[in-house]
């Protein structure tokens, strides 16, 4: 029997778009520049009507770009050159940080967005890939934060970079204890276990005197690469808030975590995780050990949360049980739902919306949970795959050079 050749380029699906390299790169850079401008406005503007105008313009812009096929073109460009896209966005974020370098509040928001995006990438692996629910993300974020504080207190000699890693590891290990009851239960019950864990964690912090009880703990500023992160940048260096350094650290963290998430997705690991989520029985019939993948994903996701929590603690300089509420876990889950379950890129714009909007609008601030509840219901009802639905797996860039 004659074999049929597959038409199209195997790694990017069957649609073939050929663009010369420089055009592809130009498209990507334009996209980055546009994002930087929009995000700058979003973070910098303060009046509600200005932000409101921006929020109206963005969907209109997206609609326009879609109608003119520019968006499709752009998506193909990003799929053809993922590495270039990644580097460009990281550099774009550096530019954004530089633009905002004197604006403490904007930098604080930006850093929070990047740290929340890091946690959401962990949730993407747990929830989006392997299908383990986690409504206690903020507890793991908190474990990272408290590990940072405690290790700094008791092991002064440890370098901070190592402490950050340890905080992630501690988060992952404590999460491993929770996975055992989760594996034994299904569906709603697993969700309830994680919720219970989140509440338990907070209560534990409140009654535990070693960890500061309800008053919490002080955390010294980071000291890495010979730089004390508590200092603002002197004018010889161009000046800038001390938040600049934290924003850069958070950026490096999210960039690496994003890369890891994408590499997992585009390998057999991600394939197996998806398979477990979609049909655990059928997966098992093909040799896939469901619990093993669930444990791996759960630990890795919590490790991400712990890493982000450690940086967060150092940046705020002070942590208390009240920072780690169930409502914050729900917020993180809503980032993943809003962006698009399982789509790693999507958590970044979603984290921007969910973190920054309440800071800009008094109304949202007051009715935060109510509004997010409504948003989640609307998404689940009308667009269950989120604003940016996850596409088919792409193992490699479309172009081999």
């Amino acid at each position: 029997m004659a074999t049929n050749r597959v038409v199209g380029r195997p790694f990017c699906g069957t649609r073939v778009i050929t663009m010369p390299d420089f055009k592809t790169k130009l498209a990507i850079l334009l996209g980055v520049a546009l994002s930087v401008v929009v995000l700058y406005g979003f973070l910098y503007l303060e009046r509600e009507w200005e932000i409101g105008a921006l929020l109206v313009m963005v969907p209109l812009g997206v609609y326009f770009l879609r109608r003119t096929n520019a968006l499709t073109y752009y998506q193909h460009a990003a799929r053809e050159m993922p590495r270039f896209t990644w580097i460009s966005f990281v550099l774009g974020a550096v530019v954004l940080i530089m633009l905002l370098r004197h604006d403490d509040f904007a930098l604080l928001m930006l850093t929070t967005v990047l740290l929340y995006a890091t946690v959401s990438l962990g949730l993407t692996i747990q929830f989006g890939f392997v299908g383990v629910v986690n409504f206690s993300a903020v507890a793991f974020f908190g474990i990272g934060a408290y590990s940072m504080a405690a290790l700094n207190q008791h092991f002064v000699f440890l370098p901070d970079l190592l402490i950050i890693f340890f905080s992630g590891a501690i988060s992952a290990l404590l999460g491993a204890l929770l996975i055992l009851p989760i594996l034994r239960t299904r569906g709603h019950y697993a969700a309830l276990i994680t919720i219970a864990f989140g509440i338990l964690f907070r209560t534990f912090l409140e009654v535990n005197d070693v960890l500061g009880g309800p008053q919490g703990l002080k955390v010294p500023a980071l000291e890495m690469f010979g730089w004390n992160f508590g200092n603002s940048f002197p004018s010889e260096m161009g000046g800038g808030s001390f938040y600049v350094a934290y924003a850069i650290v958070a950026l490096v963290l999210v960039a690496i975590v994003y890369l890891i998430t994408r590499l997992i997705e585009s390998s057999w690991l991600g394939l197996n995780m998806d398979s477990v989520r979609l049909d655990e029985v059928a997966s098992a019939a093909f040799g896939i050990n469901g619990p093993r993948w669930k444990i791996a994903a759960f630990m890795l996701g919590n490790c991400f949360a712990g890493l982000a929590g450690a940086v967060y603690a150092a940046m705020y300089g002070f942590i208390a049980p009240a920072n780690f509420n169930l409502s914050d876990s729900l917020l993180l889950v809503s980032i993943v739902l809003l962006g698009g379950i399982g789509n790693a890129v999507a958590v970044i714009p979603a984290a921007f919306l969910i973190v920054v909007l309440p800071e800009k609008f008094q109304v949202i601030q007051e009715y935060r949970l109510l509004l997010f509840g409504i948003v989640v219901i609307l998404i689940l009802r009308f667009r269950p795959s989120g604003l940016m639905p996850r596409g088919l797996r792409q193992y490699f860039a479309g172009r081999f050079g």
């Binding site: 195997p10 057999w268 979609l278 029985v281 896939i288």
Partner: protein, 258 residues
């Protein structure tokens, strides 16, 4: 005398009070095409589920090459070279056809962290190998299907999905293949094409043993070397189709149903 590859002894599966399988003795020889027939609800699917570790037998044993594998979990059973299809399709419909096939080839994949995350060159080599295997396999079964290798399974017709499921079960070159009504919903022509391909496959892999659950008696008559008839979880007849179809018990079981 041909070698026995799989044997069940007094295999019993109960659901509460109901004995879906009751003391079943079945033998499967190397290279054999065994038909498994019986009215609806007679326990055929349950038999597959008990073999593949999805249900745990209440009593009895399963022997693979004489070794007791009773109650082995599904992933172990797969590792022993037993694969299956499902009566109600169980593909990952939101994933591509390629992804689904690769899932079936699990035991030939390198799952190491280094290979998957860091050494992308060696990963790419394995991916290309898998793409080639998948493409060849698919085009054996349907020339048009191979074109859809990178499409999501949800975009395929039911027939093509069944073919993908058969391919997913074959891609790891199993020793024992369990097919649960693979031709449901196919036209006679499509069914014939599927069976022809299976026969071709058997020529290529003569030691492959197949158990086929099938409603179409004509088909069983044509392809099976031997068949086992179940009714209410018990074996009521065994032998060549032409013989068992004459037995009064079998006729009664089927007439009672029709």
């Amino acid at each position: 005398m041909r070698q026995t590859v799989l044997q069940t002894k007094k295999l019993t599966v109960s659901f509460g009070g109901l004995k879906a399988l009751n003391g079943l003795d079945v033998q499967l020889y190397e290279g054999e095409f065994l038909g498994l027939i019986g009215p609806n609800g007679s326990g055929k699917t349950t038999f597959f589920n008990a073999l593949t570790g999805i249900y745990r037998p209440a009593a009895g044993s399963v022997l693979l090459h004489g070794n007791d594998i009773t109650g082995a979990p599904p992933n172990k059973v797969y590792a022993y070279g037993i694969t299956r299809t499902f009566q109600r399709l169980r593909l990952a419909t939101s994933l591509s056809v390629l992804d689904n096939l690769i899932i079936g080839n699990q035991r030939n994949l390198n799952l190491g962290l280094w290979h998957n995350i860091f050494n992308r060159k060696s990963f790419k080599r394995q991916l290309q190998e898998q793409i080639q295997i998948s493409e060849e396999l698919l085009s054996r079964f349907s020339r048009d299907l191979a074109v859809h290798l990178f499409k999501p399974v949800s975009s395929l017709s039911m027939i093509d999905r069944r073919r993908v499921e058969v391919c997913r079960a074959l891609i790891s070159e199993p020793n024992i293949l369990l097919l649960d009504e693979p031709s449901a919903g196919m036209t006679p022509d499509e069914t014939r094409a599927l069976m022809d391909e299976l026969q071709d496959w058997r020529v290529k892999y003569p030691s492959l043993s197949i158990i086929l659950i099938e409603h179409e008696m004509e088909l069983i008559n044509k392809v099976s070397d031997r068949c086992v008839v179940l009714n209410y979880g018990e074996k009521i007849a065994e032998g060549r189709y032409s013989e068992v179809s004459m037995e009064p018990g079998v006729r009664a079981a089927y007439l009672g149903e029709d």
